[in-house]
Symmetry: C2
Subunit: 289 residues, 2 copies
């Protein structure tokens, strides 16, 4: 198997001796906006090619990493929109350099003693938005957007085995992902919807009633938005604001479930909007209207 690394910045490129240089175009997208971009693939049958696109600050930063006795640091891939921890591997200096230049999460495989880019087989790349080092400089976050499920099992993330479920003898249908609050609520609402669809004689619930009655759902969303505003207009205390916001979120999330829209999609809209100064753009839209 060949060690492969990628680069988008050929102006800085120095190909290491012994490397074969292959140029390909199209292929798959590099950036998060799914534009097809011309790119270069450097493949070497010898040692991994260093992609030297970094300026001195980033090189200095990597010099400061406390690589362990095998030259590795822990690298954690996290979904930039949901916060889900997708997988954890190890990275050496070359893996981080390759991740920076290719913007695809790249690790060092301890079993195969080589670099590997997550997705090089499955095409489920993790498209990197930023990389963070911890205070001790021995742990790395690859903050990125996955193209598809990260786990080789087809699961969204590799973390789907709960110690506490086993401890409490809970029977879990399918995998229970390590979900944080918002996504755990989304999962619950989604389950209720599935129960309704299957016409199971499960317990009735408020969520199911909302899922079945669009008029009720919409009147609740309007009501909760009204109540949220009133906490500001009538100077109610902070706990009321938090509580009403929770109500707005919950009811709006039931609407998302009815429409088959995922919270992650909403987050993506928000990210793209405000990273493009969309908040400012909106002002223009409003001024024009």
């Amino acid at each position: 198997m060949m060690a492969v690394s990628y680069s988008l910045c050929p102006q800085y490129l120095r190909v290491s001796s012994g490397a074969r240089l292959c140029i390909s175009s199209g292929g798959y997208s590099w950036d998060t906006h799914k534009k097809k971009t011309r790119h270069l693939v450097y493949a070497s049958t010898q040692k991994p090619v260093k992609t030297l696109c970094l300026d001195s600050e980033a090189q200095t930063l990597l010099d400061s990493v406390k690589w362990d006795d095998k030259g590795l640091a822990v690298a954690i891939a996290q979904n930039v929109d949901t916060g889900a921890i997708l997988m954890q591997g190890f990275a050496n200096r070359d893996a981080v350099l390759t991740t920076i230049s290719s913007r695809k999460a790249t690790f060092y495989s301890r079993s195969r003693s080589m670099l590997w880019t997550k997705g090089e087989t499955s095409m489920n790349f993790i498209n990197i938005h930023d990389i963070f080092l911890d205070c001790d400089r021995d742990s790395i976050i690859y903050l990125g957007k996955p193209d598809g499920p990260t786990c080789h099992t087809g699961s969204e993330t590799c973390y789907y085995t709960s110690v506490f479920d086993l401890k409490e003898h809970q029977q879990v249908e399918g995998n229970k992902l390590a979900l944080t609050t918002l996504y755990s609520l989304e999962s619950t609402i989604s389950q209720r919807k599935a129960e309704l669809a299957a016409e199971e004689n499960g317990k009735s619930s408020w969520t199911k009633r909302l899922l079945k009655h669009n008029d009720l759902l919409c009147s609740k969303i309007r009501e909760e938005a009204e109540e949220l505003c009133k906490t500001l207009e009538e100077n109610e205390d902070k706990s009321r604001t938090a509580s009403e916001m929770a109500d707005v979120l919950y009811h709006a999330m039931v609407l998302l479930a009815v429409k088959d829209v995922k919270i992650e999609d909403v987050m993506q809209v928000l990210r793209q909007r405000f990273s493009q100064s969309g908040i400012e753009e909106k002002r223009t839209r409003i001024a024009e209207s």
Copy 2:
């Protein structure tokens, strides 16, 4: 320094030989609701005390962990409400057992060759809600709620050094945490509020206008909630729903900023509500009203 482990289930306790047993009451809280609870502290000047509160399933699960040649696995602490990765350490079997029984994130310190519970010095414990193993069984998530900042620097998390900021020569004021979309937006809104408070002659922005004018802000929240409902009532396409939900979220988050309420507080309300079958309770409330 003494190795210390904790237990809340003395009915299963077997104190290892050579351990000194200390009983203390009060001290600090064990659970997430900040109730002061009587608890036991087992302190040993010899090897760490095993807290044997686990049933056989969890023991079997821990047997299946692929501990490395030093008996360790990577342990990542994640905020159950925000999804923020708080810190990363290593855990051995005893560390995980202690975490399960004490519900405080506990690691194995490689430098001090002993267990340590995050917060034992700072009191900023990470209160565990669940523990997940990855598909390879060599990586662990401690999903929990931190009592306060996790990093010894006082930072909320240990990940505040962005490789890309350095690479792009961006001057970052203070630390820039590894934030996911929702919390990154919250941080941007919070910055705009701080600029307004400092009466800086920065760029004007839609966010600042909303922050200054409660009437405008509330009319926008009502309008966006209305538009979100219309995507359901008028059967608009999914992308419209995602877009309107993003608008609802953004404007509601500006209101949270005005009221000094954090999204994390809202998530905590949601978590406590639906983990207590609050969604079902709400139905009762509605039925009664």
